[in-house]
Amino acid sequence: MTTKTVTVRVQRFNPEVDKKPHLQSFQVEMTPETTLLDALEGIKATQDGTLTFRRSCRHAICGSCAMNVNGRNTLVCNQPLSRHLDRHDRVTIRPLPFLPIIKDLVVDRSNFWEQYRRVKPWLIPPDELPETEFRVSPEEVAAINDAEQCIMCGACYSSCQVVALNKTYIGPHALLKAFLRVMDPRDSAVAERLADVAGTDGVYRCHTIFNCIDACPKGLDPTRAIETLRQMAQKRAHYEAERRERQKRLAEPTAPVAAPEAVTE
């Protein structure tokens, strides 16, 4: 297996000692399979045990390890180190920008979660629940545009220029979640949600800078969700009435279900 030595520059900050963050270089042995997280784990295990970072699942689903790599927000667990090397075989890892640093690569995400709670990210079910199950059509699922795949890593939130300038802005992550609930036929608080996101800190605060799309490690599109909410917020009553009408048929099949083809061997 081919190995080579590369330089990993990591932003260090110990609040008890340092006045401001600084970069520290480490020499790391890598193979083509080494991920950025492997490199950080290697540094922590063999070179400097005080290096601090968050990580958990290593499968790009927990959202713990979002960091800023060469100026771009990404997850470090699913990114090969080789893909991020510059021509001097060097990579620079910093914590997520615009958030208070706790230590090294760990940032304070309190504001992120506060804004998340603010949009009531849970489902508000209709008063009358179907006896068996909700039936949602494939078109309705497609309209959600994969928004349910968000892993709450904070990459979009911390890339947003509006967040950088205004900490009361709800943020792309929470607006995407609001979009998910507004588009969900099972949710019964459409007008209330649209009124909430149309406030001064909501969808009209977005400057369509698109950093959230560029940053999302799951390839989601918060900007399109925000644009959709903007248009829907102008016709709150219409969408509320539409949802009430839709919820009368929640237990019914949305389309005839084709019988599965017989398996012949």
């Binding site: 920008p97 220029q161 369509t208 950093n211 560029d214 599109d221 399109r224 644009e227 248009q231």
Partner: protein, 116 residues
């Protein structure tokens, strides 16, 4: 700062927007201060036809064109689902701005240099 084409477009939009507001005050001052009769009008006219104001005027043209075309881009983004073309749209705005700016700036500068 998170560097991206989106950030550049946002920065230019803010810059040109603030510049246009400041221009408005300057415009009101020039017009207001030229209303004291034919002599003051001629004096003011001579000033705004000088090299400094001509340069500012050319910059104003660039700011107005960028801000207007960028506004059209934002309308397209707001009303059509085109977020995947965000970078192409930004470059299209830049190209259109440069083309219209050149077309507008040439006659302004030709007029200025002919009047020297």
């Amino acid at each position: 700062m998170y560097k991206s084409t989106g950030f550049i477009s946002f920065f230019l939009r803010r810059l040109t927007g603030v510049a246009l507001v400041l221009y408005l005050f300057m415009h009101m001052w020039v017009i207001g201060s030229s209303l004291g009769g034919p002599a003051s009008f001629d004096q003011r006219l001579a000033m705004v036809q000088g090299p400094v104001f001509t340069l500012l005027e050319v910059l104003l043209l660039a700011a107005v064109i960028y801000h207007a075309i960028d506004g059209l881009r934002l309308l397209i983004v707001h009303y059509f689902k085109v977020t995947e073309y965000r970078k192409s749209l930004f470059y299209a705005v830049l190209a259109t701005t440069v083309l219209i700016f050149i077309a507008g700036a040439i006659p302004m500068l030709v007029f200025f240099f002919e009047s020297l």
